[in-house]
């Protein structure tokens, strides 16, 4: 397929680098201020060199990428809340041109799900968004396979940064502030870790799962969210003494979406370590199923993008 990539961060860059290996051609790429467009296929190395050296991907305007020739638009600009712009506008423009859209950007399906579905209904294009939940872990395609009606609840550890911090706090007996600084040094936490440690990122993923599972549209405002940023090290010590641990768990049940620190048994499936993510699906007839793996990272998330592209007709 011919692919246009909006966003030149970790995910967009990996999509550009790996597309050829998956049999696709990237015909356009945009960052926030520029675009490179070549209907015959971009030279990935040249584009990334220019981005590295000049801070732009090409000499065009970002809009040029949207107007180019492609079969599927990969939307990988940063997740924004509320109106989910500019990602939502990119999605709309592609669907109005009857193109497919694959999202890595959580905003449109977390904050404007019914708007997305309405635009999709009027388009020959399809919208897929496996990359928005759990990186490479097949979460949405597992729900699709089982059928949403057969899933009674979903629980998961969906933020690697928060999980890394909790794991280190418990294993080393260190304070939240100490481990956060360490995680920032390692590149596991961002300079502004708010989205991760306050539970917003995990909540957005849960809202997306809830939208896929449920009849009523949800947004971040409908989720009950508590982060790990006020958790004292003593709470983890107490848990440890009792054969338990604390994880930032997201839950999608008949009661809605809740995210917060939860006590769980050390030997529970949800007690994954470090930056690992895990999702538990409770089903009507097949008990609980678990999918786990790396929930973030450029190549990991690009893998989910290519899985989505592979599912398009």
């Amino acid at each position: 397929m011919r692919v246009a990539v909006m966003g030149a961060g970790a995910v967009g860059t990996s999509v550009l680098e790996l597309a050829e290996e998956y049999g696709h051609t990237v015909t356009a790429m945009a960052d926030s201020s520029s675009a490179a467009v070549d209907a015959g296929g971009l030279d990935a190395e040249a584009v990334l060199d220019r981005k590295h050296q000049e801070g732009i991907v090409g000499s065009g305007d970002p809009e040029d990428a949207l107007d180019g020739e492609y079969d599927v638009l990969v939307e990988a600009t940063p997740t924004t809340l509320g109106d989910a712009e500019p990602g939502f506008g990119h999605l709309r423009e592609a669907l109005e041109r009857d193109r497919h859209v694959v999202l890595a950007n959580k905003g449109p399906v977390a904050e404007r799900y019914s708007d997305v579905r309405e635009l999709e209904a009027d388009s020959a294009g399809e919208v897929r968004f496996e990359a928005t939940v759990g990186g490479a872990i097949p979460v949405l395609s597992t729900i699709e396979s089982f059928g949403a009606a057969q899933i009674t609840a979903v629980r998961g550890v969906l933020n690697g940064t928060a999980n890394f911090i909790l794991t280190r706090m418990q294993n080393e007996g260190l304070s939240y502030e100490h481990v956060l600084a360490e995680a920032q040094d390692l590149g596991v936490a961002e300079a502004d870790p708010t989205f991760d440690v306050e539970g917003t990122d995990a909540a957005l993923k849960c809202v997306i799962v809830a939208n896929v599972l449920g009849d009523d549209e949800m947004t971040l405002a409908d989720a009950t969210v508590q982060g790990i940023h006020e958790l004292p090290a003593s709470a983890l010590d107490l848990a440890d003494d009792d054969g338990q641990t604390i994880r930032l768990v997201g839950e999608i049940t008949a009661d809605g979406v809740r995210v917060g620190p939860r006590l769980i048994a050390d030997n529970s499936a949800l007690a994954v370590s470090g930056t690992q993510n895990i999702v538990q699906f409770d089903t009507t007839y097949a008990g609980s199923l678990y999918n786990s793996g790396r929930g973030a990272g450029g190549p990991e998330t690009a893998t989910a993008v290519f899985a989505d592209i592979g599912h398009l007709d």
Copy 2:
């Protein structure tokens, strides 16, 4: 869809019982000596009552089910080796009539994979077989999503009976013979446990995965297989002292298919307990992913059958 079910064991029965809930109609069902056929849809309860009371599902011959009106044939007769009959013949007849085939029977895709693919190529029908590997756990659909070319190796605990026995031997310090008898009482092991404890069942599942991943057809004869039936309790004691455990692990790598008891760390993802199964996918760009859950059981395996039916056009 209209579904014909060959085989009235645990899986076939669950497919009959649950079909309506998934929006499908069972128009025919056969066991080894009889068939019930009704183009308008079978009365599941009546068929199962008759099976229970008279030992037959209806007054027709098994062939009548194959000749009936259906869109997809669910082949759930017992797995057989070598020519994989009668399951293979059922599959051929359905494909020659341009019908889809969903297999719960491992024989055709473990022992005659290229024959199956050749028949499929000449048919308007499609063959799917998620239910043959790991019960409800999405194994083949995960490979399909990622693309076989991106999977470098697959490892797994794929036999719940063997895993139950090993878990009990280690946790309770009991002998193989003792735990096997207990498992038979509980219905976790069959009266003839050979397929499970000698590794054949796990090996067949691995061969199916290898066939999906690879270019060259494999059969059971190509796999290196060792069971757990000669494992002394002392081996598990030794492992335990070292923070390790023993699991019957199946491996599909560039070197082929191997199944046997393996020492693994207690806290390794593969160290699942009881009848749980787990599959580890090593990928080129997304690290290792793990899917786990119940790997056997009628409703669990029927869930995979319905997932396959949902993927058919």
